[in-house]
Amino acid sequence: MTSSLLHPPAHLPPSVALHLSQQAPLLLQNHSTSKLPISIPFLSTSETPETWAILENLLLSCLRTGDDKSARLCVEKLTERFGEENDRVMGLQGLFEEAVAENDADLEELMAEYDAILKENPTNMPIAKRRIALLRSTGKLEEATVALVAFLDSSPTDAEAWAELADLYLSQGLFSQTIYCLEEVLLIVPNAWNIHARLGEVIYMSAQVSGESGIEKLLVDSIRRFCRSIELCDDYLRGFYGLKLTTGRLLSLLPQNFKPASTVINPAAGEPAPPTLAYVQRLNEIATAKLAEIVRRSNAGEKGWDGYEQAEIIAARALLDKDVAKVEK
């Protein structure tokens, strides 16, 4: 189980996070006993990069599960090793302070502290990010957006920040900005299938609210994004879910004698030709079949198929059931 501490626990289900944080006292104790006065590289393994990655992730898990005491220990250990002035440690300290803050006044104080740090050293990225996160969590969406845009202006190759900005824009319903941001994320990490799927989802959402005119094109874009995400990651549930949803919608929109290429998209713009109706139908069938397979195997708890999140499985099943109900009618 320690190995999963090596990976950031952002998307761990709550039960796993709890399990991890329950190991905290043990890990922290182990960590403190094996201290030699001088670290001899062959004899003591107390100083691997993994040690600190584990501590950091442990801190996050502890904060999630409310184990503030262990979290404080983690912060102290990290501070002891890397010093008060380390950017990353400062960010983690800020995170801890935010988590244990009792009321709004505490948060205000923290905010002032962040501002002071940033005034002194504007390149402190973790603190700048904490400040933006704090702005967002206190409901000042506008300010957070402005701060994030400024942050991205000075550091436009930060995928995390772009993703956060996309999320911010999405929460305000600004689809085209969201799409732009997600594309920017993809430019930095071109093979992130989850971002491809996310982009598909956002495009689909924007298709829902757009008028009749451009909806087919948006849906086709969305389908392509989902296809790409599945291509990158086999059996990706979100990808198949989106694919089924979008192809279904497109099929319901298109008249049966739909003629591509001439009607929807201007070929002079150099856009790829939209898929033919047969392709869309075929994709829909495949997505349905795959979803059914994933749901069945996951529920049966087959080996290698148990990594799906329960909520997503339930949603997929609901989608399938709806489909069945429609057919029966």
Partner: protein, 263 residues
């Protein structure tokens, strides 16, 4: 042909214990020492100011746009191009836009350049000093006699180097003195260091020499000192301008269907 007879020389086995092993052990230990010495000498990464970071990362953004352009659809790529190329050409991302068009600072006087040179010097010293020390140690202690026979023949040119101090004209080149054992160690111990110290160890001087051959190829040095950032932006703008765009989304449905149908 009396020459064809293999020459045999009887040597004291103690030669091995008192020369070969000490040299090997010393070489290994020096390698380890050099590794940790270099780690110690490495200057902490310099704090860059926010303008400088903006400059570097903006350029990096252009490069990633060029490299990863296929993930975008044609229209989004066009939109980005329309934004980024004029910005590059007008020097919008420069650290200080007023300096545009001025000649770059002399690398010898530029403090940033000096620092980099110092770093290179340190690296060089760390390889040069132990090497010369060990060579002179071997020369003063163990020269003047033969210690071993190489299992493979060499040309006569090596005679003066590998049998230095042994004034025997007719001796086969395969009989060598301790200095050649040193050379063998120098090259052959690379892999041992990889085992002991990990792959990117500083004891590995082959890698160090490679790095000296083409400086700037490594990460971090996007802007080599003495290079005009404005020039680099202009170059990148040009690269983007001529980039032939294609997208992975082209025909992705067909590919996917092909893949899944087979399964």
């Amino acid at each position: 042909m009396a020459q064809a007879l293999t020459q045999t020389i009887y040597r004291d086995p103690a030669l091995f214990y008192w020369i070969l092993f000490p040299i090997t052990v010393v070489m290994i230990l020096t390698g380890i020492l050099r590794h940790y010495g270099t780690v110690l000498l490495q200057a902490a990464p310099k704090k860059e100011d926010i303008k400088g970071r903006r400059e570097t990362r903006s350029l990096l953004r252009g490069i990633t746009l060029r490299n990863n352009a296929p993930v975008l659809s044609r229209s989004s790529f066009q939109a980005r191009k329309n934004y980024i190329i004029p910005a590059y050409q007008s020097g919008q991302f420069l650290k200080d836009p007023d300096a545009k068009g001025q000649p770059p600072p002399n690398p010898m006087t530029d403090p940033a350049g000096m620092e980099q040179m110092m770093g290179m010097m340190k690296g060089n010293m760390a390889t040069m000093i132990p090497q010369t020390l060990i060579m002179s140690w071997i020369n003063s202690f163990f020269s003047g006699f033969i210690i071993m026979k190489l299992p493979f023949p060499l040309t006569i040119r090596f005679k003066s180097m590998l049998q230095s101090g042994v004034a025997t004209r007719d001796l086969d080149v395969r009989w060598v003195s301790s200095l050649s054992w040193y050379f063998l160690n120098l090259f052959g111990l690379q892999s041992i260091f990889t085992f002991i110290l990990g792959n990117d160890n500083a004891a590995n001087q082959m890698a160090a020499q490679m790095a000296q051959m083409n400086p700037g190829a490594g990460a971090g040095g996007l802007f080599a000192p003495g290079q005009d950032p404005d020039k680099m932006f202009q170059n990148e703008a040009e690269n983007l301008e001529v980039l032939e765009h294609w997208t992975v989304l082209d025909g992705v449905e067909e590919r996917l269907l092909d893949d899944l149908d087979i399964v």
